[in-house]
Amino acid sequence: MQTVAPAVPRSWYLPTKPHKFCPGCGHGIVLKALGETIDELGIQDQTIFGCDIGCSLLAWNFFACDSTQTHHGRTTPVMVGIKRARPELITIGYMGDGGGYSIGSQHLLNAAVRNEKVTLILVNNTNYGMTGGQMAPTTLPGQKTETTPYGRDVDLTGYPTKGPEFIAQVTPDSAYVARATVSKYKQLKRFLRNALRNQMEGNGFSFVEVLSTCPTNWRTNAQQTWHFLEDEMEHYFPVGELKNPLGKGDAANVAD
């Protein structure tokens, strides 16, 4: 029996805990890191959290922040609309790889090109989790999904989308672009903090892809899950900051 309540971020909304993500899902780790970052930056009251459709929709009432739930792929324009109308607010768009890189890719690309002053967090678990494990733009070559039951054939479906790499190509130097992973928590928090600070300082577009886990649809046990994340995904999708206009001055910007 649990006798001591776990320490949770102040910005979490407790009536909706425990959360509804599958056991072993990486969303909880991302949202904990985000919650702690919101606490540390002291931005809970002016943050607008917007979530996509897909597993990310389960986060709609996750935080004790104002939030809105949008459509599949459309979180980016909703966040842009809020930020354009109310620049004093801190807007965080939260989406999966299907929502961001496939159905919402035109919004992601153009928001990046326009250097919209929003922060977008895209959780990459290499498949469409909520709809039952179909191929995503990020599915690895050879990876089995419900729509690539014999493994992803790159001759037929192309290679996985490398989001931060393409966003880094189309954004000016004032944009922040990084790829984190739920296997490196301190680094994840540092990247999220930088992405939010970049918006708070009015620099420009801020984007963090987070490599995450989906044991339910991967059909993996704990050991296999971690192996797929750390060895296969992190090998294909290099983790690190691609653009950081904040420089080295931030005290939190030290070793992981």
Binding site: A64, D66, G81
Partner: protein
């Protein structure tokens, strides 16, 4: 925001320019738009005027984005709007659906062009079904069909007030002819005419400390259980029905004792008006009925007009192949009056077309 005009101004301008001025006068704070003919000049005039009056504009990557940025802006408490047409109206059905489901006071001006598909860039009344009942919902929208530039000015202002008062997405349905032609009108500050301007308010991004002064605002748009959604849709339906009586608008002329009623909407109703006057001069007792709101539809008012007439026939005239006709048919179900039709999809209708049709069927 600076005052738009100190005293009423006579103008001779296009319908699209009228939209821009009316949105300014209504206090719209930001427009999101994407180029499509025949609404482009709404953006052209807005972008010239907006900086002078401290208003915002963003040209988005497509109409989907234009609709969703409007959704975001109104959620944050600002009067925002867009304008589109044809295939753009198709793409915007997705954000319009979000506005229906979340009760967002979105305002959109639709300048109908020919369809299906890319159709023509010129004119039609073929976006009636799409604008009134598009999307995967129940048509919980308010749609004004204007017929001249004065109405465009008046109803764009009204659209913002109605949208923010009742929180249903609100549309001003024009067309390519109204968009592009010049007409005289009088522009004014609505407050000077005693029009009460409904103030916008935020749904998210509220003042105060969360947990101390207030609870967080979580806006939901997808439900886990059928019963949850059922409750939401039933609540919205009841509210929509209860306010419909306050919203419906129509125009009626010479229906009492008439032998035939001509039913039309939008710019076609001007031809119908001329036709009815000409027919009357020729001794034919014709009447005129025009729904101004297509959603909610003035069904009771049309039934009463039919009842007060001697008409055994009504003529439905439209620049579409039966979109108004289907609307009328469903709204006055049970009436025994015969329904004749003049369908001219994608082309204009003049008084002569209606006069000839009436003479042929009486």
């Amino acid at each position: 925001m600076p005052q738009v005009m100190n005293e009423p101004q006579k103008a001779f301008i296009t319908g699209n320019e009228t939209v821009a001025w009316a949105a300014l006068a209504a206090g719209a704070e930001i427009m999101f738009g994407y180029p499509i003919t025949p609404q482009n000049e709404v953006m052209h005039y807005w972008t010239r005027l907006a900086p002078k009056y401290k208003r915002g504009f963003l040209q988005t990557e497509d109409e989907i984005s234009a609709g969703f940025t409007v959704c975001g802006a109104v959620q944050s408490g600002k009067k925002a709007f867009t304008a589109t047409a044809g295939p753009g109206n198709v793409l915007m059905q997705e954000p319009f659906g979000m506005a229906e489901g979340m009760r967002l006071p979105l305002v959109a001006v639709i300048q109908q062009r020919g369809g299906p598909s890319s159709g023509t860039v010129v004119y039609s009344q073929q976006e009636v079904t799409l604008t009134t009942y598009g999307g995967n919902g129940e048509g919980h929208r308010i749609v004004y069909s204007t017929s001249n530039h004065q109405e465009i000015y008046d109803y764009v202002i009204k659209a913002f007030n109605i949208a923010w008062k009742y929180r249903f997405p609100t549309f001003v349905l024009g067309d390519g002819y109204q968009a592009k032609m010049r007409e005289p009108l009088e522009m004014y500050n609505p407050e000077d005419r005693g029009i009460e301007m409904v103030q916008p308010y935020p749904l998210i991004g509220l003042p105060g400390n969360i947990g101390k002064d207030r609870e967080p605002q979580h806006l939901c748009n997808i439900y886990s259980l059928e019963e949850e959604l059922y409750d939401v849709v039933m609540k919205i339906s009841k509210e929509y029905e209860s306010i419909s009586r306050e919203i419906v608008e129509f125009e009626e002329k010479e229906c009492d004792g008439a032998d035939i009623l001509v039913v039309s909407h939008g710019v076609v109703s001007r031809a119908a008006d001329d036709a009815v006057k000409a027919l009357r001069k020729q001794g034919i007792k014709a009447g005129y009925f025009r729904p101004i709101t297509l959603r909610p539809f003035p069904a009771q008012q049309l039934r009463e007009a039919i009842a007060r007439s001697n008409a055994r026939k009504i003529l439905i005239a439209e620049s579409a192949y039966g979109q108004l006709y289907r609307l009328v048919r469903q709204e006055i179900y049970g009436e025994t009056v015969a329904m004749e039709t003049l369908f001219m999809p994608g082309v204009g209708i003049i008084d002569y077309d209606i006069i000839n049709k009436v003479k042929g069927i009486l």
